[in-house]
Amino acid sequence: MNLEPIILTGGVVAVLLWAGLAAYVLHIDRRRTAARSVVAAILDTLSAADVRSVSTAERLTRVVPLLDRISRDMILHTAADGSTPRDTVDVLTTHLVERWGIYTLVREASFHRKSRDIWRRTASMKVLFHLNHPQVVDILSRAVESSSAEVASVGLTLLGTSSDERATGILIDALKQRKQSPSRIAVHLEHSPLRPAGAYRPLLRDADPLVRFWGATLLAEYPEFDWVESELALLVTDVDARVRKAAIQSLGRVGDEVAASAAMQLLRDPAAFVRAHAARALGELERSDTAPAVAELLGDHDWWVRTAAKHALEAMGSEIWPVLMRCLDHPDEFVRNGAAEVFQNLGILDSLIVMEAASDDPSHTKIDLLRRIAAAGGLRLTDSLIERSGTAAPRIRNLLTSMGLEQVGAA
């Protein structure tokens, strides 16, 4: 068996390949480190107090020798980096334009051929946006349609921060045509410095339910406009459950009377997530007068609705305790559990038991209430209560024992 020639050749190739690769890796690392130190020197120079006060042209003159030591890619990368100070970006972009021309940046920002050129395209887009170049909105519009998620993402981000009204139009158009994920587009519309509430109004009447959904969702940021509440209220009868959900969710943030009445109406919606959001909206509106209707949802067949009802009741505050009391005797165990949990989370249970345990003559009504809460919440509720009460634990234990709840297991 003569394997030696193969193994020897393979071994030599492996050694040479390792040595070559190692040298290449170290070379790249050294180049990168050197470039980084030059960039650091440029940033240091430009951030010096005496340099900051002079004109951009003068500042550029101070760092040109340093800029000549690094590649254009490195300058572009630094200029596009979000952490680079704005006045430093001014200098770097001026250098890029003076040295290589604006056309190069426009070309790079307009398209990419290979995936490895994506970073250059996004960096050029950022630089052109910084320069407020006349073509930048068109370039960003094309970027939003790019098949590259990264290019589209940067396009959306820049359009979202633009003060150009065309940018809002492009974003809304992208949302309507679903060029990218609507939620991602909505993130950027939400942060638009233009606050374009008027542009969202037509969306509420769009034939596409998803567009109506996003129109209703985005309007939650505009409580200052009177028409928002009434327009949203019209959508609570929308045929699409998602739209009804968005409408009630936004009404919970911006609304008042109309919102509460719409939410009450949606507590009986056939879609569980609409009922859940209607309950949450009433909680956000702090409408304790609606607590009886919300408390009914503690026994909803959908778990998320029950959870939403609990949170809504908690948000309404401790004044709803009479409503909760009625739930403690409900035939449905879920309702009893939910009511006991709300009693606990509102702190009513703790204050009641601490007061009664400290008293030599506990009130029969309160003892009865405690007994009912403890029975509705189960063993772990009382165990937790004892553990929470610290030094008062022995007295509370005695009180619970006297109430017939002696099997509590907490130490």
Binding site: E4, R32, A149, T161, G338, E341, Q344, R388
Partner: protein, 445 residues
């Protein structure tokens, strides 16, 4: 006649194995050169996502057990993440008294009864504690039943659409969760899970667990570092490279050795949660999610090229346990494919991906054993084993160097003296560290 047949078979097995290893090494080099040395991508603009109410909320599950001194730090860092809405669910099993006291004191924990839907069957929950300091924190104390059971408990309790499982020892910076969730935020309807990478680093070079700022490139010499730490780091970087290259070419694959994954809660539930009998519950679920097209949740598993954070290296014994767990998990995955062979492309591709990872170690073992056996039998001279050893050693080092080349283009990559040391130590990994790992596994049985 028989001897001739044996010689021919041995020659064939050695040649085939070496050929296979050379192809793997060549693929690594080609992949690293074509994708490595690339300019670092400018950081995505996370400000908009971080401040948006449309950013999908996340439930972070932290399973802990035993003596976990870093848990408070981890909770602090998780709650400090630059993310608009999240909750942290710590699931504690057999946590030491000291760790419990620390956690309770630091976070002002108080027992509370919270009724939740037990959607996945788990061992009994003893009690639930809420935090007076931060209402986003909940600690669940449950009967011990292993990591998968703790994760299932956390998934049952989680309120949000995506759940992320994070080990307490992992260190990360404030944007780590936004980076991880970025693909899911782009397309929440289609993304079932997102995996990312956690790098093993020597404790001296790693961030403090849970408290995070990106240490950036390490240019200064961190001093003398045990070779075992470097080899664990190399293994970690190699697994990241394998995962990245496979995913790039095939759009599916295996996660790196260590990572953090974000799961869509409904997809986890649809597949019955994390398997309590799997060697690696998270790898098992990732494989099931990728191969259950048609009879499972529709969507895709995505791998981010981002680094979530880092974790300190462990002892050789600990590394051996992890390696063994990974191997068992891969074998389990192959068995699953065999039991229920599917015809879809993803399943076939995944079978190849899993097979390649298992076969690479096996091929190295086959070559080493057969060439020594052949030398003992007198079929080859004693020069052959030495040359084979040289080939395997440097072949391994070539793959490590490729991984370092690829890693160089991403933040937090080894640099300067660190990089030099890793490159120089790489050839000795096969000769020194692999036998130590095998020994630790044998002793640990």
């Amino acid at each position: 006649m028989i001897a001739a047949l044996l010689i021919a078979l041995t020659a064939f097995a050695v040649t085939a194995s070496l050929g296979y290893l050379m192809i793997v090494a060549a693929a690594s080099v080609a992949g690293a050169i074509s994708r490595g040395g690339r300019r670092e991508r400018a950081a995505d603009a996370y400000q908009a996502l971080a401040g948006s109410r449309f950013t999908i909320p996340v439930s972070v599950i932290v399973p802990v057990d035993g003596d976990c001194s870093t848990i408070s730090h981890s909770v602090e860092a998780l709650l400090g993440l630059n993310y608009p809405e999240l909750e942290v669910v710590v699931v504690a099993e057999s946590l030491s008294d000291r760790s419990w006291e620390r956690l309770k004191k630091d976070w002002a924990l108080e027992p509370k009864e919270l009724f939740y839907r037990r959607t996945l069957h788990t061992s009994p929950v003893n009690r639930i504690l809420g935090s007076d300091r931060d209402p986003r924190l909940v600690v669940i104390e449950k009967a011990p039943a292993g990591r998968a059971d703790a994760l299932n408990c956390g998934v049952s309790f989680a309120r949000y659409r995506y759940v992320v499982s994070v080990n307490p020892g992992i260190a990360f910076d404030a944007d780590a969760l936004l980076r991880l969730m970025s693909p899911a935020l782009r397309d929440p309807g289609a993304v079932l899970a997102v995996t990312s990478y956690v790098e093993r680093r020597p404790a001296s070079a790693a961030m403090h667990p849970g408290v995070g700022t990106d240490p950036g490139p390490q240019t200064s010499d961190p001093g003398w570092i045990a070779a075992a730490d470097d080899y664990q780091r190399l293994a970690s970087i190699r697994s990241w490279m394998a995962s990245r290259l496979a995913w790039h070419q095939l759009q599916c694959g295996l996660p790196p050795l260590d990572g953090v994954t974000a799961w869509r809660r409904d997809a986890v539930m649809e597949l019955g949660g994390f398997s309590t009998s799997a060697a690696d519950a998270e790898l098992d679920l990732l494989v099931r999610l990728q191969t259950s097209q048609g009879d499972g949740p529709s969507g895709r598993v995505v791998r981010t090229s981002e680094v979530f954070g880092d974790a300190a290296t462990s002892t050789v014994r600990g590394a051996a346990v992890l390696a063994s767990r990974r191997q068992n998990a891969l074998i389990e995955a192959l068995k699953t494919f065999r039991r229920a062979p599917g015809k879809d492309r993803t399943r076939r591709t995944m079978t190849i991906v899993v097979g390649v990872e298992l076969l690479t170690s096996a091929a190295q073992g086959i070559v080493a054993v057969l060439i020594v056996a052949a030398a003992l039998a007198g079929w080859v001279s004693w020069r052959a084993p030495y040359l084979t050893f040289l080939l395997l050693t440097f072949g391994y080092a070539v793959v490590s160097a490729s991984a370092l080349l690829l890693r160089g283009g991403t933040p937090g990559a080894p640099s300067g003296a660190d990089l030099k040391r890793l490159l120089l130590r790489a050839p000795l990994e096969f000769a020194v560290y692999r036998p130590a790992l095998i020994w630790a596994r044998l002793v640990g049985r």
